[in-house]
Structures are given as C-alpha cells and as structure tokens.
C-alpha cells in the first residue's frame, strides 16, 4: 500500500496560499473564493480517499499499520535528525478527515459570509495557510516537524483573529492569542529539547513504540521523584494545554472570537484547539507508560477542571460567540479527561477511542454551531443575546441546524454527541468516580447553556428589527446542512473498530444505565432552559440576582483575565520590567550618552586650536615631527 500521495493534502492549500497571497490584488473575489474552495475540496476528496483506503485495507493481522514517508531535513548527529514527511496511522487519518471536512465547509460558507469584504482574497489566502499548517501538524512524523507546524497554525490563527485589523479589540485579541500560546509553546519546546536530549530521537514511531527501548527501559535520570521523561511530557502538555485553551491558559480563546465567525468555526472550535488533544493522543504510550501514568493523571484532572470551569462561565455569558467559545473549552476538557482516564490495550483503551470520537463529533457539531451563530450574526448584525429573539420565523434553516447541533452537543439520544459523550463517561466511570461525577454535571450544564442560547436566539422575546432578518444565502446554508447531517450521522460510525490506542479493533457497546443517567441530566438541563427562556420571563433575572456575587464572579469569568493582568502589569512590568528599564535608561544608556557628551564638550573646548592659518598647522606638524624624532633618537641612543 502506498500512501505517499497524502503529501498532496497539505501541499495543495500551500500552493493556493501562495497564489492567492501573491496575486491578492489581481484576483477578483469571486474567483479567489471558488479557487480556495476548489483547492480545499480536492484536499477533502483526497482525505476521504485516504481514510477509505486506510481503514479498509490498512490492517495486517488485525493491527492497523503505521506508514511513514520521510526525508531527512537537518542532521544534528547520526541518530538525531529532523525529518519532514507524512505519518499515516488511525488518528492522523481521522484528523485529516476532520480538518478537511470542516475546512472545506468553512471555505464554502465564507464565500457567502465574507461577501463584499475588502480583504476577501486575503481572507482565503489565510484560510489556505491555516489548512496547510494544520494538515502538516496532523501528518507530522516527528516532534520537531509538529512543532514547526504548531507554530504555523499559531501564526495563521493570529492573522485570522486580527483579520479586522482596523478594530483595536481584534488586534489586541490576536496579540493575546499569540502571546499566550507562545508562552505555552515555550513549555513545548523545552519538553522537546529534554526529550530529544535523553532519548536521542524526535521520531514518533521510536518514542511511542510500547515495546521500544525508550518506554521499556526509560532513562536513568530523574528529577524531583519523577523521571526526566515525565517532566518532558508534562512540559509538552503545557504546550498542548495552551493551544487547547485548558485552564489556566484559556484566556485567549474567548477573545479570539473577535475574528470572523467562519474562522472561529474552523480554528477555534474544530481543528486548531484540538491540536493539544491530538498531541497527547499522538504521544499516548509515553503518557501512559512513564511513571505509571502520572502525566496522564495530570491531563485528566486539568481536563476535568477546565470542562467544569468553562461550563459554569458559559452559563452566564451574553455574547453568543463567547458562550460557544467557553463551550469549546469545556468540550476539549472532556476530551482531555477521556484521554486521561484511558488505558492502553483493547477495551481498556476506551477513553482514548472516546476522546478521538468526541473530537470528531465535536468538530462537526461545534463547527456547525459556529456557522449557525455566524448566520444569525450575519442577519442581525450583533453578537449579543439581547438583540436576538424570535428568529425562528425569519431563519428556518438556521433554526433547524442550530437545534440539531444543540441536541447533539447536549447528548440527546440518536445524535452524534450522545454516542461520543456516553463513551467518555463510561471510560471515566470505569476508572475514577470523581471525574465521572464532574463529567455528568458538566453534561447537564452543557445542555442547559446550549438551550439557553437556542431559546434565547430563536424563541424568547419577539424582537422588533429595523430590517427584517432573512435567511442566509445557499453558499452558507449548504455547508450548515452538511455539517448537520454529520452531527447526526457521525455518531453511527463505529470508532472502536478504527481509532484505538493500540491500533486494534474492539467492540464498544452502549452502557444503557450510564447513558440513561447522562441523558436524564441533559434533559433536566434542557427543561430548565425551556422553562426559563422559551418565553420571556423575569425568572432568569431573579435567579441571577439570588446568586448575587457568584453570578457576578461567573459573569466576569472568575477574574482570570484580571489576575493575568495583575501578574503581568503589576508584578512583571511593575516590579521587574520597570526597574530593568530604569536601569537600562539611567545606567547603561546614560554611561554611553555621558561618554558621548564628554567627547563633544572636550572637542568644543579645543576646537579654538583650529585657527584656519595653515602655517599654524604646519607648525604643529613640524613640532610633532620633531618631538617624535627626539623620542626615537632618545630611545635609540639608550
């Protein structure tokens, strides 16, 4: 079997980025939109073909094989070198499908959504750049290649968040996203350096081979009671947590909603933010086998806490995109939780499979939620719930797809989210009761805030609009309908046959009692939302007042941003940077300026010696010559 053609999947968007970027002034918007979509469409078809090819024929002795095609790029030593290439295994193929599907849909959607925008071609060029980077990240054969593409997705995310660069808030949000993730990536880089120093390789197939010497023998060195390799993968997880907006590195994600809505759907819901999950999944054997899975426990608890934390905040937010952003953070926390409770072999690897399954279904329904929210925003020109209400009459298709996505994320039986969430909770139940309870509680909260949003937008008060909102054009509704289809159908894929930790299929069944609990909790959430928000009532206001300061705290996102500001402004700037700047200005610079000033004033004093009479100069010349001659003569006779 030959999968080397998969290299085309990232290269097509790269070529498009170059074409659209270089000729952005010459290509008319109509052409650039379709060109971008065509390119991504071909990547999409190739990805589907790869998936078909791989999952049907990639098995040898019931184990999915790993295919690697690579070239050596930079050589450090005989053993340690950086390669560039593609790695085909179940999770990378699955990610290819996720990324290309959502990216293709977002491209199509953007043709309608961004219509008439000044930077239309630029927008598509950035989208292509992002797709290229994301495909490269997914297909990376080694940590270093992944790191390169990791930074590239960071850059494209920065460019797209700050797409409306005339808006100061968008610029600030772009900077914030870039700096926070960069800060996290420092951990990633340190982790890579430590790991490669002790193991002598970057390659995933050597690092994550459960029978390989790295996992079975480990490394003798330890630091503070843990193997250095565990520290390395914890540092790498910091990078993953930064990209995946895990607490406490999540602060950039809500602000990133300043970008155009298709960007939020593609980057900040479906693909880039799950890169952290993908990273942990990619290195899963290391996380699982080193130090009895200490690092994996960290992943699980960070994930569970983020899921809970974000879900609570999402309940109170009024900007619909921010609700979705916190929801994304919460769902990614779920995936991390699932990875964290997973084991390696056979049915015990349920968590791993569930995490990947949820990644897949989440990409579909969360992408859809964002696209639908974009459609709403497109119609009413506002992000805020207070400007919406009763939209079901004006936007029937958006209404239906939003409902499907909301039911899916709430875990309503029969929808995709139900299946993946159920697997996650089963995995959590089998390993850790506390995490399971958190998971169920978050499931209820998710159902509640999602239907608060749904009823708030499409039902609730009958808002009077100056211009009656209208349904979005076909180029926007068709991608939404496709994703709506996937939000239901995605759940019926038997993931346990395809994507597992040890590349072997196992049978996963619904656990009916547990599923019933989850569904019950979800239904309670939906019913509460129905009672509170179906018709406009004063109950929500009273409720929020009765919670008092807790509501205020939640509404202000537990002041994490303010804590960051305090730490950066007051402590880092005030106590470290400002004195350093003072030292630089008054000591380092001042000494240099002092030398300059002294020279200038000295030369001011002695410039009177320059009389303009050349005879004086000749006198000095001869005098100097005589003095030098006398000195030489004196030395000579001694």
């Amino acid at each position: 079997m030959d999968f080397s053609y998969t290299i085309l999947i990232p290269l097509i968007p790269l070529a498009l980025f170059l074409v659209l970027g270089i000729f952005s002034k010459k290509i008319t918007p109509a052409i650039s939109g379709w060109l971008g979509s065509l390119g991504l469409g071909s990547s999409f078809v190739l990805s589907l073909y790869t998936a078909y090819h791989y999952f049907l024929k990639g098995k040898v002795n019931d184990v999915y094989q790993t295919f690697i095609y690579k070239d050596t790029w930079i050589i450090f030593t005989d053993k340690l070198h950086i390669d560039m290439g593609v790695l085909i295994d179940p999770i990378s193929v699955m990610m290819l499908v996720v990324v290309s599907t959502v990216s293709f849909m977002v491209h199509l959607y953007s043709i309608g959504y961004m219509k008439g925008d000044d930077g239309f071609t630029r927008f598509f060029a950035y989208l292509s750049l992002f797709s290229f980077s994301m495909f490269g990240l997914v297909l990376a054969t080694n940590l270093f290649q992944m790191y390169i593409f990791w930074e590239l997705v960071g850059v494209s995310s920065y460019l797209l968040i700050g797409y409306y660069y005339t808006k100061p808030s968008a610029v600030a949000a772009g900077k914030k996203a870039f700096i926070v993730t960069r800060f996290a990536d420092l951990g990633f880089l340190l982790g890579i350096l430590i790991l490669s120093y002790y193991t002598g390789t970057f390659d995933f197939d050597l690092l994550t081979n459960p029978e390989g010497s790295i996992i079975t023998n480990g490394v003798a060195s330890s630091f503070m009671g843990l193997s250095v390799l565990t520290w390395a993968i914890l540092l790498i997880f910091i990078g993953g947590a930064g990209k995946s907006a895990m607490f406490p590195l999540h602060i950039w994600l809500p602000d990133a909603m300043e970008g155009p809505t298709p960007v939020s759907a593609l980057i900040h819901a479906a693909t880039m933010v799950v890169a952290g999950v993908y990273l942990v999944a990619r290195m899963f054997p290391l996380y699982y086998f080193l130090d009895n899975g200490f690092a994996l426990d960290v992943v699980a608890y960070v994930g569970a806490f983020s899921a809970l934390f974000a879900a609570i905040i999402a309940v109170t937010q009024t900007d619909i995109k921010r609700v979705l952003a916190f929801s994304t953070m919460s769902q990614i926390g779920y995936m991390m939780l699932a990875l964290g409770v997973s084991k390696y072999e056979g049915h015990d690897g349920l968590g791993f499979m569930a995490s990947m399954f949820h990644l897949f279904t989440h990409a579909m329904f969360k992408g859809l939620l964002f696209l639908a929210a974009g459609s709403v925003i497109h119609a009413v020109h506002s992000n805020y719930l207070k400007d919406m209400g009763g939209l079901r009459k004006y936007m029937p298709i958006t209404n239906i797809v939003f409902l499907i996505a909301a039911l899916s994320i709430a875990g309503f039986p029969g929808f995709a989210g139900f299946f993946s969430k159920d697997e996650i909770l089963v995995a959590a139940f089998e390993s850790n009761m506390l995490l399971y309870v958190i998971g169920v509680f978050v499931a209820g909260l998710t159902a509640f805030y999602m239907f608060r949003l749904y009823f708030g937008i499409f039902w609730g008060k009958e808002t009077k609009f100056e211009h009656a909102p209208h349904e979005s054009p076909l180029s926007m509704t068709i991608p939404m309908l496709f994703l709506a289809f996937m939000s239901i159908a995605g759940g019926y894929i038997h993931f346990s046959e395809y994507v597992t930790a040890d590349h072997q299929s196992f049978e996963a069944h619904l656990n009916y009692p547990l599923a019933a609990i989850t569904v019950g909790v979800g239904l309670i959430g939906i019913i509460i939302a129905y009672v509170l928000y179906k018709k406009e009532t004063s109950i929500p206001l009273k409720l929020s007042n009765s919670f008092g300061s807790f509501y205020k705290w939640t509404y202000d996102k537990f002041y994490i941003d303010e804590i960051y500001l305090f730490v950066t402004k007051k402590i880092i700037f005030g106590l470290i940077a400002a004195p350093a700047a003072w030292f630089d200005k008054h000591i380092v610079d001042a000494s240099m300026i002092g030398i300059g000033n002294a020279t200038a004033s000295l030369s001011n004093r002695i410039k009177g010696m320059q009389s303009g009479k050349f005879q004086d100069y000749a006198m000095s010349f001869i005098g100097g010559g005589v003095v030098i001659a006398m000195i030489i003569f004196y030395i000579w006779i001694n």
Partner: protein, 105 residues
C-alpha cells in the same frame, strides 16, 4: 666630486637652505613668498640627493634622477599653487594669509 669642498660643507649649505625655507614658510604673510619658501625646501632636498649620490655612490645615478623628479614635481606643484592663488585672489582680492582664515571649523 668638487675639488677642495667636502660633503660636509655642502650638506651644511643645504641644511641652511632648508631651514631658510622652513622659516620663510612659517613667517611670510604673502602666499607667493610662502610658495617661494617651499621651493627653497624642495631645492635643498634636490641638492642633497645629487650631492650624496656624487660623493658616496659615484657609480650610480639614482640620486640625480630623483632630483629631476623633484624638479618636475616642484613645477607641477607651483603651477597648481599659482592657480589656487589666482582663484583665491579673484574671491577675496588678496593674496595675504590672514585673509584666508575662514577655512576653519
């Protein structure tokens, strides 16, 4: 080789010539006379070349040839200097050194 006159006497003469030139160069106020002083310095050097060649290395001719170089150089230099002085005269209607003091800081 001149009968009855040793090299020392001639070198003394050229030294005197040289220092008259230097003295004139420092003290004269008129650019033309300064130029003449420079000529004296150059000629002292040229005579030195010839004398040393004749007295010490009679079999060679380099010193004599070099003195011819110096004469050519002096001629060229004088032509240039005169040109400058004429232009200066057009500018300030004077060839006195004190009228050319503006060429400073």
């Amino acid at each position: 080789m001149i009968e009855g006159i040793s090299i020392y006497e001639i070198l003394t003469l050229t030294s005197i010539l040289f220092f008259i030139g230097v003295y004139g160069f420092f003290t004269r106020e008129n650019l033309i006379t300064i130029l003449m002083s420079i000529e004296l310095i150059l000629n002292a050097a040229a005579v030195n070349f010839v004398i040393i060649n004749t007295y010490l290395f009679p079999d060679f001719l380099q010193g004599a040839i070099f003195s011819i170089f110096i004469i050519a150089l002096a001629a060229a230099e004088t032509a240039l200097a005169i040109a400058i002085i004429i232009n200066l005269y057009k500018l300030v209607t004077s060839v006195e050194v004190r009228d050319t003091e503006t060429m400073k800081h």
